[in-house]
């Protein structure tokens, strides 16, 4: 009996080992592509451009548009790298950096993941810098270095987007215009729209209201009507109203923004942050300081997920509190400095 038990146990153990070994072998043999929607696809990456990736799946070549790819896990890539990519997918930038630091470069044998590692390190550094951690110039240099050497990477437009956002957040709007102009060459409507909207923002920040209007107008005229496009169109319409504020049409701007508030989805944190910041700006310029405080406070207390918008609101609150409520200045300033050390708004204050 005892022998039987042992024998059957040994057999079971052997079977389990084989299964594990087989799985392991399969993992080593295949790349895995995770689309933004749908199940992961396993195969071999055979081609890559800035617009698409071709994967051979069981002998058949399948084409994936770059914008639809959430991430690619290369065969035999280090587990820490895979973990970092997952963290990037959920925008856990600190966690992503921790994982990237653990990647042993010697263990990355293939050329593709080696290049991709450069992208991820640059991207995560960029995002961290936008959140006030690390040196923005170093992050920009790193990501730019990747782009220059990998113009055919499917991360090309994502890099342009990240570089533009970083430049805008640190006040380098001229530079941001250059990066977003590259993004605007994307064949994908969602990226194009984002680029047009972002170009509008940068031009507005540069005081080029006419150029900003053109960019926002381009975004609003976009043909696509999916959820993402609709969102960017709404953001662009906020931008358009900000142009009216810049042209001193305060009452009209406020009325339009209030209408947008009543029509929009308050769960869209970034959209509402933009809306209330635009309201704050219009009230402020119209000399309605209390209303401006309340508008910026909406962003500060309810809609904080977009670092740039939050930093903008904090900056204006500091200015307004200095005049209206000095005891609140120190705490607000401390938050701006500790949350967004690299932001242009922090440097401005």
């Amino acid at each position: 009996m005892c022998f039987l038990i042992n024998k059957s146990f040994d057999r079971f153990f052997l079977f389990a080992l084989c299964a594990i070994f087989a799985n392991s072998l399969m993992a080593q043999e295949a790349d895995k592509l995770y689309p933004s929607n749908g199940a992961a696809v396993t195969g071999k990456i055979t081609e890559m451009t800035r617009n698409n990736v071709v994967m051979e799946v069981r002998g058949v070549k399948e084409n994936f548009q770059a914008i639809d790819i959430q991430r690619i896990v290369y065969e035999a890539e280090p587990a820490a790298f895979t973990k970092a990519k997952e963290a990037v997918g959920t925008e856990q930038w600190d966690e992503a950096m921790d994982s990237l630091k653990k990647v042993d470069l010697k263990s990355v044998l293939r050329e593709e993941p080696k290049k991709e590692l450069e992208f991820y390190v640059g991207l995560v550094q960029t995002k961290l810098a936008m959140n006030g951690q690390g040196d923005p110039a170093a992050a920009e240099a790193r990501l730019l270095n990747f782009v220059k050497g990998n113009t055919n990477s499917f991360h090309f437009f994502d890099s342009a987007d990240a570089l533009g956002s970083l430049a805008a957040s640190t006040g380098g709007h001229d530079q941001a215009v250059k990066y977003f102009s590259v993004l605007a060459t994307s064949p994908f409507p969602a990226q194009k729209l984002k680029a047009q909207y972002s170009l509008g923002n940068s031009n507005l920040a540069l005081g080029k209201t006419a150029d900003a209007r053109t960019s926002y107008g381009d975004a609003l005229a976009g043909a696509t009507d999916d959820a993402t496009s609709k969102r960017y169109k709404k953001l662009a319409s906020i931008g358009m109203i900000r142009c009216e504020t810049a042209e001193k049409k305060y009452d009209a701007a406020i009325e339009k923004l209030r209408k947008l508030v009543s029509e929009s989805d308050a769960t869209d944190n970034e959209l509402f942050a933009q809306l209330y910041n635009a309201l704050g700006e219009a009230h402020l310029r119209a000399g309605q300081e209390e209303e401006a405080v309340l508008a910026y406070l909406h962003t500060d207390l309810l809609f904080t997920s977009d670092p740039d918008s939050h930093a903008e609101a904090l900056y204006h609150l500091i200015q307004l509190f200095t005049k209206l409520d000095p005891p609140r200045v120190a705490e607000t300033k401390a938050r701006l400095q500790s949350l967004y050390a690299n932001s242009a708004w922090t440097k401005k204050g």
């Binding site: 308050a266 309340l294 200095t322 005049k323 200045v329 500790s338």
Partner: protein, 1039 residues
């Protein structure tokens, strides 16, 4: 002990609502509720109120919120009560709140949130009743006991009625919404029904609480007390039995807690413990944790009571176990502090119990030590527990020193060293309390007992010093033992404590270096800010002890620290202190550029910044005045640097003035505003000065006129009045206004009243006015304008002398008129005014002389003698060309005091001027004197006799030498004048030769002729006489 009843009720409500409802952001609308909730959470009650007002007015609130604005506003005010700074403010808000809720509750019976308002109203009534009962703790209120109890009972009855009524209303609403009447998929209605059900339970519980409170407002042996408690018990028992669903755990738990309290009051110990136990056993966060702490405190007290069987062990165990779980951020929480007090009380009782039995000394001491530690820990924190804790500590006396504690323990890790150091530091800090207790005991005990207590005090100090020393040693060991795995936060704290201990040891260099380092190691943290405070304090101490030339490096360090603080905590008081220190140092060393630079460090548009800028402006203005005075005394024109200083002062003072409002108006602000007005007056900008002085509410004149106004110092009041007077004179002189005599009189009387008998102050103020007016006069270039201004001054002074008998004022007025006239008489356009001024002066001096005749002490206040006044009168008469009268006055002086040298000189000069250089008899009198006395000696000496007298007496006395040479010069001058007034011929030549002889004789005996200036005069006269004699004009050289 349930001492935190108000807070408790508040927490209860919040907790219950939180349990019963959630919130979600609405789609397509202003997120009003969420925003309001966040504003409340952040304590931004003022902004929450403004939000409702503004958004309601503009129609921006979501429709769902519009009917609730009034209620929400009341709720915000209620939430803001904790932020009220004074009891008075809180009570006032409470009264208006109760009225507001009552109004809402009574006026809108259909409002869906009426029940919520009812709960708030009931709570406020409960709170009011509780506050009334609390008054009974004050022995002074004993006489009002009946009234207080009645007021409390009325409040509790009102609360009970509101809670009862709310239940009736809610029962009807819930019935209408019961079961299938609300569709299961109608989420909003379902949520509303749930909300009403929660409120219904709250109303039930709070009615029970009201009944309990009402019962306790009656004497303990009364029927109302017993009946009330019974009703409360029944009410709460009913809730416990009915609250059976999972969502009603909160209601059930709170009812148990309250029921336990009621049962304890009824003496039902077992039942009370049964009620408390499930509450004390709940292990959940949030409100449940607080209820747990309260239930545990109640259990500890109950178990440790006689009725509870004096089960100290059980009580201590239950309480101590929970205390071990206390988080750092809970340490200052009233409920936790109360629990520690309860456990300390139980430990003390246990200690006493142990003492009764033999062989338990050690255990008894251990209990006492534990109790002492708990009490020392909580007695440092403010709250209702504090008094009881201090009392118990006083009863305990001071802890005997444990010999083992005098040794420094062996430590092997950073954490060990840090923990031991911290224990010692905290112990040394707690000795303040021990000292307080001992000092109180010293006041109470007999003389015999005092030495022992004094020795105890010394021992406390010695222990504290030892603990601090050991703490320092251990902290330094900790820093050496630090490894990467240790807590960085503790490392920072360790350095912070080191800095603190350095300060305690007066090692300020070390303290400055360490705290500066800590400050920059953790920017934005509380520790860092405190470290900045330490560094600042240390730098100041070092600066005080260093000579100015060795402060430069220190100054750089302090500037660096200040800049860092400005960048990190721009509004913190410590930052402003750092900047002020820099500023003060720069001002002290007259580094004006640095001072202005440091001013830019201060946050703009804050009260402190504005005040500092203004004060710097004031300091610069004073500096300018001093400098200008020195220049004038040296006979120089104001330097460019002075003008720059003045311009800078003006800019800063103007900035301070522009930012001034009623709330920031204080005496310093008034002084600064007056300085700015003075500056404008000096620079001929009368309108601007007037605008400042007369500005409504905040102008200096309004400030000194205001009842209970900010200006208390007589000097400031006088300065403002002086400027007002000066302004009036200048306005009158330009024809902009007439100088109203009554107004001047009123002003002068105000000045006298403000001086409050300080004649010196009054006189100095008036002298400043005279000086300013004279300077003003000097600045006016156009003779006609000069005459106008002089006329204005003359009117002022004349009117002043008319309305006043004050010796100081009259002397000032007369002297000013005389001095101004002296300056003006040579100018043609001003000559008539000069005459008037002289006449005015004569009149004023006469008034003084008459007064001094009547009151011999009249001139004492200004330290003058009648002859001083007579002399000025004589000079004024001479200015008027009333030589005979002037001679009479001078004679009066000389008859009383023949050796009055000034009078002798002026008498000789008077003859000289009287003669108009033509009347030989008068010129002779100028030389030979006049008015022989009874001894046939001339009362007036004349220049000749004067010079003889002086030559024999002057010796080395410089002042007499000067007069001697002047007399000799005048002697020769007058002889020449006599010659020139004589017909040509031998007599004339003889006189000229005599004149030359006077010069020669003086020159031969005194070749320097009294100095360069005098020498030049003699030389010129010699040349003139030589020319008259047709001799070569060789001057002194040819003699």
């Amino acid at each position: 002990m349930r001492c935190q009843i108000h807070r408790f009720i508040g927490i209860c409500l919040v907790g219950m609502v939180a349990i019963g409802s959630g919130s979600a952001m609405l789609l397509g609308a202003e997120p009003g509720k969420e925003f309001l909730e966040r504003l409340r959470e952040e304590g931004m009650f003022d902004l929450a109120t403004r939000y409702l007002e503004i958004y309601d007015k503009k129609g921006w609130l979501p429709n769902s919120m519009k009917p609730d604005v009034k209620l929400e506003r009341l709720m915000i005010i209620q939430d803001s009560l904790a932020a009220a700074r004074t009891t008075k403010e809180r009570d006032s808000r409470l009264s208006s709140l109760e009225a507001g809720f009552k109004d809402f509750y009574d006026s809108d019976k259909k409002h869906p949130r009426r029940s919520e308002a009812g709960l708030r109203l009931g709570n406020l009534s409960l709170d009011r009743g509780q506050r009334e009962l609390k008054k009974l703790n004050d022995p002074a209120e004993k006489k009002n006991e009946k009234t207080i109890r009645e007021a409390a009972q009325a409040a509790f009855k009102q609360a009970e009625a509101v809670f009862k009524s709310s239940q009736d209303d809610l029962a009807a609403i819930i019935k209408e919404m019961s079961g299938a009447k609300v569709a299961a998929n109608d989420a909003e209605k379902v949520a509303q029904r749930k909300q009403y059900q929660g409120e219904y339970r709250q109303a039930q519980i709070l009615q029970g609480l009201s009944l309990k409170m009402l019962a306790t407002s009656y004497p303990i042996d009364s029927a109302q007390y017993k009946d009330g408690l019974k009703k409360a018990d029944e009410q709460l028992a009913a809730v416990i039995s009915k609250a059976t669903t999972a969502t009603e755990v909160g209601a059930k738990t709170l009812s148990r807690l309250y029921r336990g309290d009621v049962q304890a009051l009824m003496g039902q110990v077992e039942q009370a413990l049964e009620s408390y136990t499930p509450v004390a056993d709940i292990d959940q966060d949030g409100i449940f944790r607080l209820w747990r702490v309260q239930a545990t405190s109640a259990m500890v007290r109950l178990l440790g009571s006689e009725k509870g069987g004096n089960k100290f062990d059980v009580a201590i165990k239950r309480g101590s176990e929970l205390i071990k779980q206390m988080a750092k951020n809970e340490q200052a929480n009233p409920e936790w502090l109360d629990l520690q007090l309860a456990v300390a009380q139980a430990r003390l009782s246990q200690s006493k119990e142990l003492e009764k039995k033999k062989g338990n000394d050690t255990a008894s001491k251990a209990e006492r030590r534990e109790a002492r530690e708990l009490l020392q820990s909580i007695a440092r924190r403010p709250g209702d527990h504090q008094e009881a804790a201090k009392k118990l500590l006083a009863e305990l006396g001071i802890e005997a020193v444990d010999p083992a504690a005098t040794k420094i323990p062996t430590v092997k890790t950073f954490t060990e060293a840090y923990t031991e150091a911290k224990t010692r530091l905290e112990r040394s800090e707690s000795t303040q309390l021990s000292r307080e207790i001992l000092r109180n005991r010293l006041k109470e005990v007999s003389e015999n007992e005092k030495p022992a207590i004094e020795a105890e005090l010394k021992s406390v100090d010695a222990n504290a010093n030892r603990d601090r020393d050991q703490s320092m040693v251990l902290l330094q060991r900790a820093l050496k033992l630090y490894r990467a795995a240790d807590s960085r936060e503790d490392l920072l704290s360790a350095r912070f404590y080191v800095a603190y201990l350095f300060i305690k040891q007066d090692k300020f260099w070390e303290a400055a270096a360490t705290s500066d380092f800590v400050a920059r190691s953790a920017p934005g943290t509380d520790t860092s800010l405190k470290a900045c405070g330490f560094a600042l304090f240390s730098y100041r101490k070092i600066m005080d002890s260093l000579p100015a030339d060795r402060q430069a490096n220190l100054f750089n360090s302090l500037e660096g620290l200040a800049k860092y603080m400005i960048a990190t905590w721009p509004e913190a008081e410590e930052t402003q202190q750092a900047t002020l220190t820099l500023l003060q140092n720069a001002l002290k060393n007259q580094r004006w550029d640095d001072a202005e630079r440091f001013l830019t460090f201060m946050p703009k548009a804050t009260g402190q910044s504005n005040a500092t800028r203004r004060d710097l402006g004031y300091v610069l203005w004073i500096q300018y005045l001093i400098s200008q005075d020195a220049e004038r005394k040296a006979g120089k024109e104001p330097a460019i640097g002075d003008i720059t200083l003045r311009d800078r002062a003006e800019r800063l003072l103007a900035e301070g003035w522009e930012s001034l409002d009623v709330s920031s108006l204080d005496q310093r602000a008034v002084e600064a505003a007056a300085a700015l007005a003075a500056l404008y007056l000096r620079t001929d900008r009368r309108e601007k000065a007037e605008a400042i002085l007369k500005k409504e509410k905040i102008g200096p004149i309004a400030a000194i006129d205001a009842k209970d106004g900010p200006v208390k110092a007589p000097a400031v009041r006088l300065e403002v009045l002086r400027l007002n007077l000066q302004l009036k004179v200048m306005a009158a002189s330009t024809g902009a206004a007439t100088l109203d005599a009554k107004e001047v009189e009123k002003l002068v009387k105000s000045m006298q009243a403000s001086a409050a008998g300080n004649d010196k102050l009054l006189t100095n103020t008036l002298l400043t006015l005279a000086k300013d007016l004279r300077e003003q006069l000097e600045q006016v270039q156009d003779p006609a304008d000069q005459a106008k201004l002089a006329s204005g001054i003359q009117v002022l002074l004349t009117q002043l002398s008319e309305v006043s008998n004050n010796a100081g004022i009259l002397d000032w007025a007369g002297t000013t008129m005389w001095q101004l006239a002296s300056g003006l008489e040579s100018k043609k356009a001003s000559a008539p005014i000069a005459k008037q001024l002289y006449a005015g002066a004569v009149h004023v001096f006469e008034k003084m002389l008459v007064a001094s005749e009547k009151d011999k002490a009249y001139l004492d206040a200004i330290q003058r003698k009648p002859e001083d006044v007579l002399l000025k009168q004589a000079l004024s008469l001479r200015g008027q060309a009333e030589y005979a009268k002037a001679h009479e006055v001078l004679l009066k002086i000389l008859k009383a005091n023949g050796t009055h040298l000034t009078a002798q000189i002026e008498a000789a000069k008077n003859f000289q001027e009287w003669s108009a250089n033509k009347d030989i008899d008068l010129l002779k009198k100028s030389i030979f004197g006049s008015d022989p006395n009874a001894q046939n000696k001339n009362t007036v000496w004349g220049w000749g006799q004067m010079s003889k007298m002086l030559s024999s007496q002057m010796g080395s006395r410089e002042e007499l030498k000067t007069i001697f040479f002047e007399a000799r010069l005048q002697l020769a001058t007058v002889r020449r004048l006599m010659a020139l007034a004589s017909p040509a011929g031998a007599d004339r030549e003889k006189l000229l030769q005599q004149s030359l002889g006077d010069i020669r004789q003086t020159y031969k005996v005194y070749p320097d002729l009294g100095g360069k200036e005098s020498n030049q005069k003699f030389d010129k006269l010699a040349k003139d006489v030589q020319k008259d004699l047709n001799l070569p004009t060789t001057g002194l050289e040819g003699l």
